[in-house]
Amino acid sequence: MIRLFKKMTRSQALYALGVVIFISLQVVFELTVPDYMSEITIKVNTPGSTVGDIFASGRMMLLFSLLAFAASVLSRYFSARLAASFSQHLRKLIFDKVETFSMEEIDRFSTASLITRSTNDCTQIQNIMSRAFNQLVRVPITAGYAFYKISTRYWQWLAFTAASISLLIALLIFLIIYAHPRFRRMQGYTDRLNEVTRENMTGMRVIRAYNAEDYEEEKFDRANLELTMNALQARRAMGLMQPVTRFINNELNVGIYCIGAFLIASAGAAEQLVIFSEMVVFSTYAARIVRAFMGLNMIFNMIPRASVAAERINAILDTEPKIADGPALMETKERGSLEFRNVSFTYPGAAAPALSDVSFTAEPGRTVAFIGATGSGKTTLVDLVMRFFDAGEGEVLVDGRNVKDYPLEELRDKIGYASQQAVLFTGTVRSNVSYSEEDIEEDVRRAVRIAQAEDFVNGMPEGIDSPVNRGGTNVSGGQKQRLSIARAIYQRPEFYIFDDSFSALDYKTDRALRSALKRETAGVTTLIVAQRIGTIRDADRIIVLDEGRVAGQGTHDELMRSCTVYREIARTQLSQEDL
């Protein structure tokens, strides 16, 4: 956690300093108030002191109360600034870092975990900054200063106070050992319960079809009971806190007075008044110390959670993306050529390579298709062209240059890419199609037209300016795919990469789209990953992949003759007379 706090900027460190200074001031001012009470006590009991004397002390009390108030407000101002500013800074550090990640890092953390780290974990840190940090400063200062103030000649009072506080510490230790872990476990139980609920929701049809309602209810009840029991244990233990502290506070007060009575009785007449006023003030300080210790409970509850969050955030910040820009390059002479030279690739942690010894070339303007079983390496192959991953052995050459030599931006500018699962962002049809480029209406319309999306886009209430919901939930799967293809077309790239982007289209649309592409964007080299033979049978070259190896390449007809893997795929999809 400390490592994370080292990331503070100078202004945040100043805010933190402000918090420390003003909390110290506040504590000092607050603890000065009872001193004047002691003065008043003596004055009241001293014959001959005037009302004016009392009010003079009263004015000082009021002054220090006001000063304490002002210091407290200022400390809170700095602490609010500190927490908000540090969490803003942290969120930005994380987000900017994640934006540099390649798919390898994304896969390693998993998207879900990255999101939690950037949102919840940051909030955790913000909470600890705003609350626990204050306490962390306040507790030792209050306890120390109050102890200093009450260090009197009378060990009886000190011993009694110490005994009471050890009771308090015992309670704290019990809570830290018994209750805090249970509170931390609560999230796990809640997640489990939510998971069962989510299952019930997503599997509703299956559950009803199998009349498995009772079974699911039993499962839910078990999770519910676990959660409830854990919550009961944690809360019942925590319930001890209030009565015990209140009891300690009260008995401390009475005890101090009772002891005081004996001290006064045994003292000389001259001493009596001093002891009496000391007693009144002592009880006030003792109450402060008790309160300060209670603040520890919160800190001990928060710190473990926050340090877990801090570790998780550090893990992101410490990660250096493996894939970096290549040196800036001169313009390439070739345009639209791609070559794989003996490329092999193994996913980190995987035993077997995803691609082994893959070689092929794609000439400018031609269409190369990749087909094979799931896990045969089709997506991996195009990911290497995009440099989502880097080839382990061999070379991937785009326009005659190794992809690793390009600045990433330059390389990716050459390619119009549509991913396996179509991704749409919140915005409009237009903002999605012209994503990250200058927005030219005419070009958007052209891309939408070629992608066979014109009909449904025009059918939307505001045409190309119609809103797209987050995750594209207001368009169907096939429409999403067409819009993501339109985005690729809009770039006017040298290459298209369509990673299984036609799967949700019906055969008619699939065909119309491909012929429109051919007609209107001639000269663009096209790489298509597909499952359906129908989509790729007209490609200039088909690469058949089987467990990461090239099992055959050539045209449809050539492969039908020479490649058993291809024939097998074809047999499952085409009827006898087509073959």
Binding site: A84, K92, N211, S436, Q491
Partner: protein, 614 residues
């Protein structure tokens, strides 16, 4: 490759749970009173606990109020002793012991209060959660399919936690606070009228200031949660679409958007936090102000002989006790309001319309074979104004294979929804084995069918549980037999714990293997009718063959309804129902339909058309 790269839906479920802690802005319930009335009605079972809690809260406060008065007596005895030189030590000790015992009893009672309230709130919310899960099984699918329902459900789970906290702490605290407030005021007034007015006056002043600050800070809290939601939304979206951000060099644009929202959030964040942070200093100041007022005016009065020093000591404690409840009431009101809004949604959920009661219907169709299925003048629409199926009549002979085809979105699942009685017909009848399905209970209808859906739904649990899925008395042999027939037995055996292996979200199972599991599940269910959503689009070609074989084995001897995505697989079906735009376009066998030259023929031919080249 990690498949969750794109799985936004799952991601949102995961984070929404964590986000609730940040919504500090109090929501306003529509009807505060009636929602609390409902909560009370729900609490009837726990009446003894609630009553005990409230009584204990009152008792513990009353006992606390003895304290300052005893302290006053002790102080007065000490000052008297100082003056006379003869301290009444025995009396002081006796008083101290007595009050310590009272404090001890008070602490026990306070704990009893917190124990009963904790138990009550935990048990009540447990019951509510259970009712919600029961509810989930009783609402019609037509409601469950609507998007607002999912949102409501995920909010309700959070709402229950909110209510839990409010009932656990706030209710008893509020009761105690009000009594402490009144009791303190009473004790102060009878002890010393003028001092009482001074301290009460200064405390109320502070309270008024606090109310103001709460009002001022509200909008910032609302802004804060809005910006936080927006920022988290942006983060989720960008991470989930990372591959596209990278592919199109969209990083700068994405960072710019992020920075913009982050800055807004920072402003709202520190302002809301600062303002709410002001509460404590103000309360401390009020408390100090009361302390000063008591000390100064008390001393003045003592010096004039109008009161005793013990009164001052007592008042110092009273002022402390008196200012506490003010903060608690202020915070408690906000919390009660949020809880009322939460319980409003919970009850709205629990009031959702349920499926009709079917206790009078035929509950058991045991022994029915793969009989005839008759659609008799069936009409249906998802919304009243748009009929999807109009007057459809058709007879499916026993043990025949029916295929339902059509483009994506043509409404192929509608027929399944009606057959399974997931949705109710608008008019007409569906007869299975000569019996009207609307005269049977839904469970009885479901017992007649086994189902394999495109969504290969498996839950977190063991392989065995997933396969037997609620069916009682299934032997291991039956399970293994089904798995062998489905061609998944060897795979399961190869898992670390075989049939006892726990499946989780990130279990390393391919789509094909999941599909085979669901086929095995259908075989174990062993019902005479079968519904197959033939979903092989996500399965590779080799596994697909395996799946196809398993499905063929499953259809043997059953009347089957297959939703077909690839025409090549269903040409042997006895009957093909062709759907188009949510409507039934044609019916007939493959040959008949091709001959007819309608929509089916068009679909069939487009499949292999070589016209365009790429």
């Amino acid at each position: 490759m990690a498949k969750d790269r794109y799985d936004l839906g799952q991601v949102q479920m995961k984070t929404s749970a964590g986000r609730r802690g940040d919504m500090k802005a109090a929501e306003k319930p529509k009807d505060f009173k009636s929602s609390w009335k409902m909560v009370l009605r729900y609490s009837r079972r726990y009446f003894p606990l609630v009553a005990a809690g409230v009584i204990c809260a009152v008792l513990s406060v009353v006992l606390t109020l003895f304290g300052p008065d005893t302290l006053r007596q002790i102080t007065d005895l000490i000052t008297a002793g100082m003056k006379s030189g003869n301290m009444d030590k025995e009396r002081i000790v006796a008083l101290s012991v007595r009050i310590m015992i009272i404090y001890g009893i008070g602490a026990l009672i306070t704990y009893a209060e917190s124990w009963s309230m904790t138990t009550y709130s935990a048990r009540l919310t447990q019951t509510m959660r259970r009712e919600i899960s029961r509810k989930l099984n009783r609402i019609p699918l037509s409601r469950a399919d609507s998007s607002s329902f999912g949102d409501l459900l995920s909010r309700v789970t959070n709402d229950i936690d909110t209510l839990n906290v409010a009932l656990d702490r706030t209710v008893a605290e509020m009761v105690a606070a009000v009594i402490t407030f009144a009791g303190c005021a009473f004790m102060m007034l009878i002890t010393d009228l003028r001092l009482a007015l001074w301290s009460i006056g200064s405390s109320l002043l502070g309270f008024a200031a606090m109310r103001r600050i709460i009002r001022i800070s509200q909008p910032y809290f609302i802004k804060r949660s809005v910006y936080l939601g927006r920022l988290n939304g942006h983060i989720e979206e960008m991470y989930a679409g990372h591959i596209i951000v990278k592919a199109y060099n969209g990083e700068e644009e994405s960072k710019k958007t992020f920075d913009g929202i982050n800055e807004l959030l920072y402003e709202a964040n520190w302002k809301s936090q600062f303002l709410s942070g002001m509460m404590m200093p103000i309360m401390e100041f009020v408390s100090n102000l009361g302390y000063v007022a008591v000390c100064v005016f008390g001393a003045w009065m003592v010096s004039r002989g109008e009161t005793s020093f013990g009164v001052i000591v007592a008042f110092i404690v009273y002022v402390k006790l008196f200012t506490q409840p003010l903060t608690q009431v202020a915070e408690g009101t906000t919390s009660l309001q949020t809880a009322a809004a939460a319980s409003e949604r919970i009850f709205q959920f629990l009031r959702e319309e349920e499926m009709e009661d079917e206790s009078g219907k035929i509950a058991d169709c045991g022994g029915m074979g793969a009989g005839e299925v008759v659609f008799d003048h069936v009409s249906f629409g998802y919304t009243p104004d748009k009929k999807v199926i109009r007057d459809f009549s058709f007879t499916v002979p026993p043990a025949s294979h029916v295929a339902i085809v059509g483009p994506t979105g043509a409404g192929k699942t509608t027929l399944v929804n009606l057959l399974m009685r997931f949705y109710e017909l608008d008019s007409g009848r569906i007869l299975i084995g000569g019996r009207d399905t609307s005269a049977m209970t839904r469970e009885a209808v479901h017992d007649l069918f086994c189902m394999v859906l495109q969504d290969t739904w498996l839950f977190n649990g063991s392989v065995r549980d997933n396969l037997a899925f609620g069916k009682k008395g299934v032997t291991d042999e039956e399970i293994k037999k089904a798995c062998r027939a489905a061609g998944i037995h060897r795979f399961i055996e190869s898992l670390p714990q075989g049939y006892d292996t726990l499946l989780t979200d990130d279990s390393n199972m391919s789509a094909g293997q999941r599909q085979l599991m669901t086929i095995a599940r259908a075989m174990i269910a062993d019902a005479p009718f079968l519904i197959l959503d033939e979903a092989t689009s996500s399965v590779d070609t080799r596994t697909e063959q395996q799946v196809q074989e398993a499905m063929n084995r499953l259809t043997e001897g059953r009347t089957s309804f297959t939703i077909a995505h690839r025409l090549s697989t269903i040409r042997d079906a006895d009957v093909i129902i062709v759907m188009r735009d949510g409507d039934i376009a044609e019916t007939g066998s493959h040959e008949e339909l091709l001959k007819a030259g309608g929509f089916y023929a068009e679909l069939w031919n487009s499949q292999f058309n070589e016209g365009a080249a790429i």
